[in-house]
Symmetry: C2
Subunit: 397 residues, 2 copies
Amino acid sequence: MSDEAIVREKLDQVPAILEGQGVDVWLTFVHETAVTPDPCIELIVGTNCTWQSAFLLSRSGERIAIVGRFDAPGLEAIGGYSDVRVYDESVRPALLEALEQLNPGTIALNYSASDPAADGLTHGMWLVLQETLAGTPYADRLMSSAHVVAALRGRKTPGEIERIRAAIAETEEIFALVSAQMAPGLKETEIAAIFHDEVARRGLVTAWEPGQCPAVDAGPEKSVGHTGPTELQTGPGMLVHTDFGVVKDSYCSDLQRMWYLLDEGESEPPEEVTAAWNAVWASMDAGAAVLRPGVQGHEVDAAARARLVAAGYDEPMHALGHQLGRSVHDGGTILAPLWDRYGDAPRGLVEENQVFTLEYGAPVPRRGFVALEEDVLVTADGIEWLSTPQRELWLVG
Amino acid sequence: MSDEAIVREKLDQVPAILEGQGVDVWLTFVHETAVTPDPCIELIVGTNCTWQSAFLLSRSGERIAIVGRFDAPGLEAIGGYSDVRVYDESVRPALLEALEQLNPGTIALNYSASDPAADGLTHGMWLVLQETLAGTPYADRLMSSAHVVAALRGRKTPGEIERIRAAIAETEEIFALVSAQMAPGLKETEIAAIFHDEVARRGLVTAWEPGQCPAVDAGPEKSVGHTGPTELQTGPGMLVHTDFGVVKDSYCSDLQRMWYLLDEGESEPPEEVTAAWNAVWASMDAGAAVLRPGVQGHEVDAAARARLVAAGYDEPMHALGHQLGRSVHDGGTILAPLWDRYGDAPRGLVEENQVFTLEYGAPVPRRGFVALEEDVLVTADGIEWLSTPQRELWLVG
C-alpha cells in the first residue's frame, strides 16, 4: 500500500472518531513542518507545509486544507483533501471563512501535556489562533484533540499493521545475523556496527537515533538506559543485552534481545540468570494476560509490576509498554504506572488494533541485566504476538 | 569537528547573546523530542529526550539540565551540561528548585508566531509550565526566546560554516554529474533518479522530503512550486529547472540550477530566455549589493524585487532568501516582503556569519521558468558567495 493510500486510510477513520467523541471539527494548525513537525501532519496530510497552514476535518466528513500557494501542488498530489484553498499573504481570512462555513460547536486542537503525539500545536501557533479568533464565537469552543489523536494513531489500519509486521520481520532477520556473529571479546561498539551495516544494506533507518539504536549492554558494568554502545567487551559468564528497532516504510519495530555467553564448563546459564529470566517473562506474561480491549493501561502495568516485585526484584522505573507505529513511542494510552511523568496516558483504554510493546527487566549481579521486549497487536479479546517471543536466552559458546 | 563539539560551540555562544538581549535565563522545556522535536534540542542539547525535560541556560553561564533517569547517560556523554539533574516521577520539583536557585528576572521560552525555529515549545508543555509556576513569581517573568534563538541559530560558528561549505560542495558535484547526463527526452522523474542515486551513493540525505528534492521542472507546462518530478519530458527549446540540496553532517545546502536545451539550428538561447535570465540575475545582484550587517531583511528583498518589477516581470510570490543551517529554512531574519505570512521575520537585522539563500525567478512563455538560487555568507561588510554562482545557463545539444 502506498504512502498516499495510508494517509487516505487514516483520513477515512476520522469522521467516526469525531462522532464518537462529540467533536465537530478537528483543526491542525502548523507552520514550517520540516522545522516544527506536528506529528499529525504525516498521519493526515502526508507532506510538509512551508507557511502557516490549516487542516480542518469535520464530523460530517468535510476535509478543508488551507495552504500557501507553493505547498498546494504537493498536497493535491496526495489526494487526501478534496477542498484545497490557497493563499498568498495570510492564512487568517481563509481560516475564518472555513470556520464560518462549518460553524463548529467544538474545535479540537493538537495540544496535550500527557501525549506528545497529540501535542504538535506550537505555542506560537496557539497565539496566532487566539489573535485570529478574537471576537468570534469560536474562541470559546476550543478543546484538546488528545482523545481524537490517540484513537486515530492507536487504531491501526490493515495497511499500517502490514507495515509494522514488515518492520518487525526485518528486525528479527537482523537479530539472527547478529546472533550468528556473537562471541566473547566483542566490544559493544563492534556489535552495534553489525546492526548498522545491516540497516544500511537494507536501506532502512534505525527506529531512534543511531548512536543509541541499538543499545548494546555487555555485562554488569553498563548503566542501563538511553545510552549508546561503549568500548566494554563481551566475555564469558556475561549477559549481553540489545534494544533495537528499524523504520521501514515509515513504521517502526522495537525489540530487545539477549544472549548469555557460557563460561568455561557451563552448558546452561547460572541459576540466578535463569531465575531473573523466568521472573521477567512471568511478569510480562501476567501483563499480556490482562491486555485486551477495555482495560486501562495502568491495570496492565500493575499486573506485570506486582508479579515482578513478588518475585523479589526491584520495581522497574519505567512503563511495561508503549504504543508503536509511525513513532517508536507512538503516544496515546500507555501501559504505565500512575506517575506524574506519564500524565493521563495510563488511564486510557486499550482498544482493538492498537500495537504495544511489552518490556521489563531485572538486574543480575555480576552478570548484567535481563531485559526483554516484544511487540503485540491487541485483538478483539486479547493479543497476538507480532514478534516471535524470545522464550529462551540465546546461548553462545 | 564532532557533533558534540558543535553543540558545545553553540552553548558557548549563549551567555553573550542573553547578555546582549537582557535575558536572565533561557528555558527549553520539552517532552519526547523524537515525536515533537523542539528545533533548539539539536542545537543546544544534541540528543533526544523521552520524558519531560528542562534545559536552563543563564546569562552568567550556568547550564542546568533536568531529565528523566534513562536520558541522563546519553546527555552526559555529550558534555554540554555540567549540571545534569535526574528525576523519576516528576520534572516539576527540580525545575522549581533550579528557578529558585537562579532567580531570573526574565525567562525566555521557545515560542514565536513568526519564526518556526524558535517555536518549539508545544502548547501542552506551555500548560505544564503554567501549572508548575502558578503562585510563584516566575509566572510573570516569561517572554519569547525568538531573538535569542534567531541570534544563536543565525550566528554560524566556524564549525558550522565548514559543514555548510561541505554540503554545498557535495551538491555542486552532484549538479555536475547530472549536467553530464542532461539530454532531450528525459522524464523529470528520470532526472530526479540521477540525483537520488548519487545522494544514496554518498551516504547523504536530501535537504527536504525526497519526493520533492530535487524539484525538476521541464518546460512551460509544469506548475512551479513545492511539487515533485512528474512524467513530463525534456525537449528542444525548453528550460529545465532543478531545486536541490543535501544534508551532510546535519547541515544543509539549497541551490537551484538550470539548463537550456538548444533547438535545431540554435547556438544560444532565444532572446526572451536570455532577457529573463539577465533580469533575474540583475535583481539577485541588486539584493546582494545591499546585503550586509545592520540592514533589515525586507530592505534586501525590496531592492531585488523593485529591480525585477522594473524589468517588466511579475513580482515573485515568495521571499528573496532565507537562512540556511541545520534546517534548509533555518528561521530568524528572512529577506522577504512585509507580508503577514512572514510575521516579524523580515524586520530582523542581518548579522555577520549568517548564511542566506538568494533565489528569484521569472517565467518565459513557451520555454519554462528561469529560477536561480545561490547560498551566501554575510561578512563584516558584505557577502561571500558560498556556492559558485551559475552566471551562465548550461546549454545542452
